[in-house]
Symmetry: C2
Subunit: 208 residues, 2 copies
DNA sequence: GGCAGCATCAGCCAAAAGGCTGAGAGACCA
DNA sequence: TGGTCTCTCAGCCTTTTGGCTGATGCTGCC
């Protein structure tokens, strides 16, 4: 049996080293290359054709992980792409899956979880960390908690620190309507104040 | 010459593994323990008395890095504490230094930079990543815009969406005092509402 | 045709936040 | 000793926000 070839993509050297060390404990993994950016990732895939790409989403500069996934998919190569990131933002999950990721792991995942995800990915299985799965599940169960386009638009502006009046002016609606939207957004996010909504939006929804 | 004993504190296994692998390449480092939380860090320091503690600030649950640093300092042990984190937030830097950190490194630092920082720390030298140093430098130039430790602490809690009352309860101060601090924070950040302050804090200060 | 969801708006009221002024205690420093 | 900074608190007033109820027009769907 041949080893599973892996490409590590993360802008932090320590994370790459850590993953390399962890994967090195397993006989069936072979880390053939590393990349510190989206651009580098594309090059390394061309050079090494790894079976699995383990990729962080937040890259310091240049192309981010989502865009790198999208471009890898467009070349219709056969790599399985696993997202390996710190935050389980709803928005990031949706965007990564949409771009073509096979799995979604969080950085605090246990080693066995990581190993299983990589082995599963080469067999075409989707594997994700429990918190990620639970988020997706919850979204499917309660579509009521999904923001409407208009609400999402308003929430996005909200995270820029605008007042109700400013929101109304920006969106060409009355302040009353702004308040109605806000009440709905608060209910869906499970918060009671605009401050908490902003905090939740930026942290959980990945808006920034 | 005896090796420099090191304790690694980070809630992510991969980061600890990565650091361990990196430091393992240097003959004068000896990673004697690891901890995944602030509480664990205190225990491990008691058990191993490392010369240097390399600590992340953001810990998943429980005591965060800042609080761990503060408690370590209160025991007047001799460990040099190095912050090793992802973001160079002004507020975090101020709070970490105030709590008693010897140095401040970013996770994308080069290995040599990390090695030098640890070796410097045991000799009582303060070492920090270039971006961190540049932020501190800029702060020295316009001291009016520098948040005091208390203000930074409050701003940090503010980004969690707390109300003035909750802030007061959390910090054991009156609501009046909270409002005073907020007014100062707004002036320093150049904003007029708490929403804008949160937005600015998370985006510009890197808080999350 | 009716029903559900979405976006729009109004008015009323209570609570929260923000602007302003003033002030005391403790730390630090020249 | 005096000045400055930080942290603490109070009162008063205006503005903003949030909760509630109710309503209209539009669209898509069964």
């Amino acid at each position: 049996m041949t080893a599973i070839t892996v490409l590590l993509v993360d802008d932090h050297l320590v994370v790459r080293s850590g993953l390399r060390a962890l994967l090195g404990t397993q006989p069936d993994f072979d880390v053939v290359a590393e990349a510190a950016s989206g651009e580098e990732a594309l090059e390394q895939v061309d050079g090494h054709s790894p079976a699995v790409v383990v990729m962080d989403l937040a890259m310091g500069a240049g192309m981010d992980g989502i865009e790198a996934i999208r471009q890898l998919r467009q070349r219709n190569n056969r790599q399985a792409i696993l997202v390996f990131t710190t935050y389980d933002s709803d928005a990031d999950i949706v965007r990564a899956v949409d771009a073509g990721a096979m799995g979604y792991l969080l950085k605090d995942a246990a080693p066995d979880e990581i190993f299983a995800a990589i082995r599963g990915a080469v067999q075409g299985k989707s594997v994700m960390s429990a918190p990620v799965a639970s988020r997706l599940f919850q979204q499917l169960r309660n579509p009521n908690e999904v923001l409407t386009p208009r609400e999402a638009e308003l929430l996005s502006l909200l995270t820029e620190g605008l007042s109700n009046r400013e929101l109304g002016q920006r969106l060409f609606i009355s302040e009353a309507t702004v308040k109605t939207h806000l009440a709905h957004i608060y209910a869906k996010l499970g918060v009671e104040t605009r401050a908490a909504a902003i905090a939740t939006a930026i942290r959980r929804e990945g808006m920034r």
